[in-house]
């Protein structure tokens, strides 16, 4: 370690202080706004410290009925979003680990065809096939259903590639030892592969949970009914700058409630998150 000069260290601290300000401030600002009354919010500038309306705003938003968007409570929206995030995360992990298992630990005709079939989906994100996908969903009657919200997003080339990469680092001798120990494909998967994949699964879970929670275009397309919407979509519907009736203090509470769960997941599972993020992209 090279000793750094005092000036250099001071500069680093200054830059990092600015960095934290830039990165955290918008979220902090929302948090502060969510504790002020509507009148305070409408009269800028907003104070930099939390206001006295925390309980009032949050209880109104959660239980008051006034903060409802199109007759739907925040708890319903949060539930929908949670279902979406969990189903996508768990579904993707299950589906991807199975296909990666097939591709790495078996040899069968058309193996590489399947691999490429999955691989190429990397190049077909929702954004480039919006309309036809919507038509398919309408034809299948999946609009406004949890299946429609989650199932199509469960196929993931990225997760499959990650598991494939990890599986390929497992020494062949371990498979042979298991076979000599009388373990067939299922026992090997359950007793050896799954336990060894634990950290990878945890890392992937964090990334996919965030991915599911922050979806926007997909729920926008797949839901018409307000009670099937996600909290992100509902927020968009609540905001109107032209409309003087926008309940900004409740919008801010909803914003905080929409941000909090994924931030908590990322911060509390930081170790796996960072590992998963940096390694999955290699």
């Amino acid at each position: 370690m090279i000793e750094r000069s005092f000036g250099s260290r001071l500069f680093a601290y200054a830059v990092l202080a600015a960095a934290i300000l830039i990165v955290v401030f918008p979220i902090y600002y929302t948090l502060v706004a969510s504790t002020h009354s509507l009148t305070t919010i409408l009269r800028p500038p907003l104070p930099l410290t939390p206001g006295p309306n925390f309980w009032e705003n949050y209880s109104t938003a959660l239980f008051g009925g006034i903060g409802r968007i199109g007759g739907v409570g925040v708890e319903r929206l949060l539930f929908n979003t949670f279902v979406m995030a969990m189903a996508i995360a768990l579904g993707k992990i299950v589906i991807s680990i199975l296909s990666a298992y097939a591709i790495v630990f078996f040899r069968f005709p058309f193996r590489m065809v399947f691999f490429w079939l999955i691989f190429i989906t990397l190049m077909l994100p929702v954004e480039v096939r919006i309309l036809p996908t919507y038509k398919v969903m309408v034809d299948l009657g999946l609009i406004d259903t949890y299946t429609g919200l989650t199932l199509p997003l469960m196929a993931s080339a990225t997760a499959t590639l990650l598991f494939r990469q990890f599986f390929m680092t497992i020494p062949g001798e371990l498979v042979e030892a298991a076979r000599l120990d009388g373990a067939g494909p299922w026992r090997f998967f359950k007793d050896i592969l799954l336990p060894l994949s634990r950290t990878n699964i945890a890392a992937l879970f964090v990334i996919l949970f965030i991915y599911g929670w922050t979806q926007y275009l997909w729920p926008l397309l797949m839901t018409n009914r307000n009670d099937m919407g996600t909290v992100v979509i509902a927020l968009r519907k609540m905001i109107s700058f032209a409309d003087a009736d926008t309940q900004w203090h409740l919008v801010m509470v909803t914003c905080v409630l929409a941000i909090l769960p994924p931030v908590l997941v990322v911060v509390l599972m930081q170790r796996w998150f960072v590992k998963g993020l940096v390694e999955s992209e290699k």
Binding site: S8, A102, F105, R111, R129, P132, Y134, P152, M168, C255
Partner: protein
């Protein structure tokens, strides 16, 4: 001796394991994508009753449409600035964080927050701070005599969406640059110090060149992000406006298909976007391959 991969001798099982993913992929990826290709060659009459095969005509119209050219330019400007700001700040913050002796964990914990915020919400947060009605920063700008209104001024709207888009991506770039910095052997930097290179010189002559693979990788990932994942920001903050000042390619596909119901041209735009994604993915994997081969 390199042996072939050890495997299980089952015939049916692998197909069963692959079935869920392949089924979902075929129904929800390949079927719509082929529909997009097919529709891009059709035109519907005004009543949506008859369809006519028009070959590449939709593509000709799309590429000849001034609105599409505008959208291309908007996407270009938006992407270049978003990527530049997000990469620049990510690198700067990572380099500074690496200088810390203590408190790195604390800094990292705060730096990753924006990653967890949905792009649309990121856009709303920034809009809330900067909207002319009650945003505190808009208020300050006005008090300082600056005419700030991103809802009416196209350039200001662009600045706002770029700020929101870049802000959200800083976390990601920060984490990768930190990982990249930590992978540089300390002995190299110490050798440079012994060779008389000062701190700034060490950065530009040793650290920055060695970070090139990370930077290049992030460049591609950030471009993909700016092209596709920022739909929520545009949709929630500006709706492509004012005018068409922030109408990006993806937003236009959505708008032409769902709002203007012009299926043929929307499909043609989808196909063009597909080509862009394929090109970006190809670049990314060429890079990955190179990294594998040349360390």
């Amino acid at each position: 001796m390199a042996r072939p991969r050890v495997t299980f001798p089952n015939r049916i099982l692998p197909y069963l394991l692959l079935a869920p993913q392949v089924a979902i992929t075929l129904v929800f990826f390949y079927w719509p994508a082929s529909q997009a290709l097919y529709t891009s060659t059709l035109r519907e009459d005004a009543f949506g009753l008859a369809q006519e095969f028009v070959g590449l005509d939709n593509f000709r119209r799309v590429l000849g449409d001034p609105n599409y050219i505008n959208s291309l330019q908007v996407t270009g400007i938006f992407s270049v600035f978003t990527v530049a700001v997000a990469l620049g700040l990510g690198l700067l913050f990572a380099v500074m964080a690496e200088k810390l002796v203590r408190g790195r964990g604390f800094v990292r914990t705060l730096m990753i927050w924006p990653y967890a915020v949905a792009p649309a919400i990121a856009g709303m947060l920034w809009l809330f701070m900067f909207n002319p009605a009650m945003g505190s920063f808009a208020y300050m700008a006005r008090t300082a005599g600056y005419n700030w209104d991103p809802l009416l001024n196209g350039s200001q709207a662009m600045i706002l969406v770029i700020a929101a888009a870049a802000w959200k991506q800083i976390s990601y770039n920060f984490l990768f640059f930190v990982a990249g910095l930590q992978a540089i052997p300390k002995s190299l930097i110490e050798a440079a110090a012994i060779d008389g290179a000062g701190e700034t010189k060490r950065f530009w002559t040793i650290i920055f060149p060695l970070l090139a693979p990370t930077t290049f990788f992030l460049l591609v990932v950030n471009t993909v992000y700016a092209f596709f994942d920022t739909f929520g920001i545009i949709h929630a903050v500006t709706g492509g406006g004012p005018g068409k000042a922030t109408e990006t390619l993806v937003y236009k596909v959505y708008n032409d298909g769902f709002v203007n119901l012009n299926f043929g041209q929307s499909a043609a735009q989808s196909v063009i976007l597909m080509v862009i994604v394929i090109a970006l993915t190809a670049i990314q994997f060429r890079y990955v391959e190179r990294k594998v081969h040349y360390g």
